[in-house]
């Protein structure tokens, strides 16, 4: 049963990653691309989790924890950059 689950989740994750990559390539604005990159990172973490669960090892667990801790820094930085480039208002709330 676990091998069937592995195949099914591999197909689903591949389709999801393809959709996210398509949005990165096509996205009209930079923020859409950043959001799609976040989703792609979440899909990668999910695939690592499925691999660990099916094969019953914990080799990637620290990688998943690290992704969940510092994965937000990239999108925060890019969002800050976009806000500073496009807006010329002196004060921001």
């Amino acid at each position: 049963m676990m091998q069937a689950v592995l195949v099914a989740t591999a197909i689903i994750f591949s389709l999801a990653a393809a959709g996210a990559i398509l949005r990165i390539a096509r996205g009209p604005s930079l923020l859409d691309r950043v959001l799609a990159a976040d989703v792609l990172l979440a899909i990668l973490g999910g695939a690592l989790c499925v691999d660990m669960a099916v094969n019953r090892h914990l080799n990637n667990l620290m990688l998943v924890v690290a992704i969940s801790i510092i994965g937000f820094i990239g999108s925060v930085t890019v969002a800050r950059f976009v806000a500073d480039r496009r807006e010329q208002q002196p004060h921001e709330s």
Binding site: M2, T9, S29, L35, A36, D38, A42, R56, V65, H91
Partner: protein
């Protein structure tokens, strides 16, 4: 490939298999939402599914498959940090998207941020004229 559902192990396996399938479908839903939704804010709604619920289901699947207790605190730590950091990035991306006009205003039902932005802009303009005098 012919499981008999008599022992506890088989049921735990079945539960973790269901968790993994549903967690993967969350990722697929996020991808479909990214492709089909019209603007940035509604895409952000779709993008949160694998980051919170999908990760929760997959971490629970790991915990069920490992059959040990000491792994659960690590999984809880991973999920708690995900819960703490996802709103930060969502807040920043949403605010930047609002300020750079990457939204379809006719799709909004209410806009609470507009009042704040206009008040800040008026205050900035008042400060500007007072400094000029």
């Amino acid at each position: 490939m012919n499981p008999d559902f008599t022992g506890v192990d088989a049921w735990v396996d079945l539960a973790s298999a269901v968790f993994m399938i549903v967690g993967a479908i969350m990722s697929l839903g996020a991808a479909i939402g990214l492709l089909r939704f019209p603007d940035l804010l509604s895409r952000m709604h779709a993008a949160t599914k694998p980051q919170v619920l999908g990760l929760f289901l997959l971490l629970a699947a790991i915990g069920l498959q490992m059959r040990t207790w000491w792994v659960w605190p690590v999984l809880v730590v991973a999920w708690i940090f995900q819960l703490l950091t996802v709103p930060v990035s969502a807040h920043m991306v949403g605010r930047a998207g609002y300020r750079t006009k990457h939204l379809h205003r006719e799709l909004l039902t209410s806009d609470d941020l507009e009042v704040v932005v206009q008040k800040a802009a008026a205050k900035a303009a008042a400060d500007e004229t007072r400094d000029g005098d």
